[in-house]
Point group: C2
Chain length 268, copies 2
């Protein structure tokens, strides 16, 4: 029976977290260590400048699940759990189900994905799950058998070193879901706008706000393409962000400028 750690970035009371945690009981034992507050777009963080609190949480989940609410970022929850808050050895880390998609470049901001990146640094397999709806009454039930079958497969097959899966669900009824597609990150176009206002004391303040980013739905094989067409997207993500194919061109730049400067310094 695997030991499964569940976390998220929407916070301990998010309905998608409960759906995921309780779905995992069909596979093994589950622990929840999640932020006490919403930490959306929190990025991959490490809280080192202040101590963290972990409050045991009852009643939110099935009595079979031991749960903690943490006053830190999603990645802090994972570190805290794996470094000793959970006394059992964890076999896999799952994140979500996020309220809203994590597609394209979203993954660099995503608190949901940061849960899995932290797990990968601890050399554990991990899966991030997100639903393409931010509606407070969104129905997470259609995701349940995918949550279970994808997690089962990761447990059975393992994942390459420092690699995680980023899974997105279309927000449609279960029987309309057309299956799973292995995808790559698509491209989103953010339409944030800066709103500048003046406070009652005459000082300016700023809101970064905008509509839901638009995705490029036409490029076949991307996560955005798949979700738009009613598929579950499964994107393998890795911790190595090196753009390897650009390295040869970069080596041809004029790096000699710096040795020249060095020479002029050596012979004043």
């Amino acid at each position: 029976m695997p030991n499964i750690l569940v976390s998220n970035d929407d916070g301990i009371f998010a309905p998608g977290l409960r759906t995921l945690a309780e779905a995992m009981l069909a596979l093994g034992d589950a622990w929840v260590v999640a932020p006490k507050d919403n930490q959306s777009a929190s990025g991959h963080r490490k809280t080192m400048h202040r101590p963290l609190r972990a409050t045991p949480v009852g009643q939110v989940f099935s009595p079979r699940i031991k749960a903690y609410a943490v006053d830190g970022a999603p990645s802090d929850c994972v570190a805290l759990a794996l470094m000793g808050l959970v006394e059992e050895d964890i076999d896999i880390v799952v994140a979500g189900v996020n309220s809203g998609p994590n597609l394209g470049q979203d993954v660099t901001y995503s608190g949901t994905v940061s849960v899995t990146l932290e797990a990968a640094i601890f050399n554990l397999p991990a899966v991030a799950f997100s639903l393409d709806s931010r509606h407070p009454d969104a129905d997470y039930r259609p995701t349940v058998d995918f949550l279970q079958s994808i997690t089962r497969q990761v447990l059975a097959n393992g994942l390459p070193h420092h690699t995680i899966l980023n899974v997105n669900f279309p927000a449609i009824p279960r029987k309309e879901i057309r299956g799973v597609r292995i995808t790559q990150q698509g491209r989103r176009v953010y339409r944030d706008v800066l709103t500048s206002r003046t406070d009652p004391f005459g000082q300016p303040y700023y809101w970064i706000a905008g509509a839901e980013p638009e995705g490029d739905i036409e490029t076949e094989g991307t996560d955005i393409w798949a979700i738009y067409r009613g598929f579950v997207s499964v994107t393998p993500i890795h911790l190595d962000l090196t753009r390897h194919e650009f390295m040869p061109a970069l080596r041809n730049w004029n790096w000699d400028t710096t040795p020249e400067l060095s020479t002029s310094e050596d012979t004043p």
Copy 2:
């Protein structure tokens, strides 16, 4: 004359920020928009749940530099600047010089790198600079001609779409620096430990802390390998985290499990 935006994650008063901003005056006009406080390990964040303040800062920098301190994350500073706080069109974004290296998996946490990821989302070229020393009296002067020559080359050659450069400097005198190496991300081993304490009211609290992570200095061609040997490391980083080479194997997993479940639902 290019317009250069300078930011960091160590905050507006960091000595490395001043070194970088004033070095840029040899290339063009410079603006500084940086966090008012230290935001190390802040990750790539977007502050949307509260407004941001940007306070004009005088005296810290050369009078030729217009500077603002922002009560947000490094990526917020970039968004705020590019969305209108800086009225001129920015040509390039530079980050740092960070107090401490950003090597290997550090880049997923790094506030310094998050500055450049945000710039890339705005389709601007960007470079992150870090010094391999956290000492408060570390000498940033040996970095200056590299800051200028690398930024000049990025302005001259451009960078591929959604790609940035992550540059690390060894903390050694200028004449001991052996030149530039184009590198890939190495692997660091984090040695964080969880310290559990009890507060005066009998409740537990936790510190995540640890020694400086150790790097794998033996794998040739990595950033860690280069720094250890006295080279400046230049690693191209991209926003596409997809592990493309794992996609064929992943497609061979048993994805049929889910259509079967779907069938059983269709015929109750």
